[in-house]
Symmetry: C2
Subunit: 214 residues, 2 copies
């Protein structure tokens, strides 16, 4: 068993520390965030920090690194007021990763990596046509984290698109049925296999495994 | 393709909406947070919202639901100043799920669900002995989200324990090698299979797949 204390973590080479700390908290979501600049240029960026914030009202969030360099995604979200979150399937993850490259301002990542820019039902921000699950969001707020300058951006879920056949009768989406990937650390990808769903936990009885399609 | 707009999402039965919205953002981390009350009672609770916040300094965060009911985890964290984050392997996930049951205040979830409470190297909060990856954290701060009353709790990473054989030479942890699970929605669990790691994305060249053990 390897053991690190905070003082020796601080002494690790920065890339080694970044790989370690980014991977130790567990699997992450893997999503493409689609935005559009005030000049009409579509932008696409891979994020592993999109998270559930609440269901009523439906809210999601994501962590954005400090605004010390150009952050097109945030600038566009603030200007347009809308963005999309597009889940990444296994056959998309190489291209999704490549959106992290720092392209020139006049290059859209959609074109550069080969995804189709899609506009649906009058929504202002572009979706990724190849994503089987697409979420249209409205910017709501952001919180600056005093500890390191990162931002937590909050959006409301305004539109949802997903294949009906992946939904259990109680609303749950079986992400494994669309080969949705999970992110590991800064550059790793994994394909999860569904284990089971568990019943609501109560003190007086052990949770049981729910039947598929619950 | 099923399509929801915000107005019909709001009309969905609340449990159906919760299952849908909790699962649509992608896979999540699955962790047990260990704390201790001022009376010395150990507490353990499963969370699917633990996230990477930063590497330098090493920080993590998690989302806590509104403080409208008893939240032992948060009370204990504020009182003790420390907590642990323990990753969940496939053979632990039934018990981990069961920690969500609302046990009486004089019952420790460690005892109730059958995990061993472990204290390491003088750290004040209890670890889960069965977890192969353990993180000791110090409470740093919390942010109240005006949108729905949730809290984002921030902790610094003070201690790390993991099996040396799961670490690539550049620091990255291969969580799949310890059968770490990912969470889906409110009650689903999945076991990810490693796909690959990708090289640092640059505009002038396509990202390549890195060799294993990078």
């Amino acid at each position: 068993m390897k053991h690190h204390r905070s003082d020796d973590i601080a002494q690790l080479p920065s890339r080694f520390r970044a790989n370690l700390i980014n991977s130790v908290t567990g699997y992450k979501s893997c999503n493409l965030i689609g935005t559009k600049s005030s000049e009409g240029m579509a932008n696409l960026a891979v994020f592993s920090s999109v998270m559930h914030i609440g269901s009523s009202p439906p809210l999601l969030g994501f962590i954005l690194r400090p605004l010390t360099v150009r952050r097109d995604t945030f600038t566009n979200i603030k200007e347009l007021g809308y963005f999309t979150v597009n889940l990444v399937s296994a056959d998309m993850h190489h291209r999704a990763h490549q959106t992290a490259a720092k392209y020139e301002k006049d290059v859209s990542e959609f074109t550069a990596v080969g995804f189709e820019e899609l506009y649906l039902d009058g929504f202002a921000a572009p979706y990724v046509a190849e994503s089987t699950i697409k979420i249209g969001c409205q910017y709501k707020n952001h919180y600056s984290l005093a500890e390191n300058g990162c931002l937590l951006v909050i959006g409301s879920i305004e539109r949802l698109y997903y294949p009906e056949e992946i939904q259990d009768t109680d609303g749950f989406l079986r992400l494994d049925k669309t080969d949705t990937v999970a992110a590991m650390g800064m550059d790793g990808y994994a394909l999860p296999t569904f284990l089971n769903r568990m019943s609501y936990a109560r003190p007086e009885s052990e949770s049981i495994i729910l039947p598929d399609g619950t």
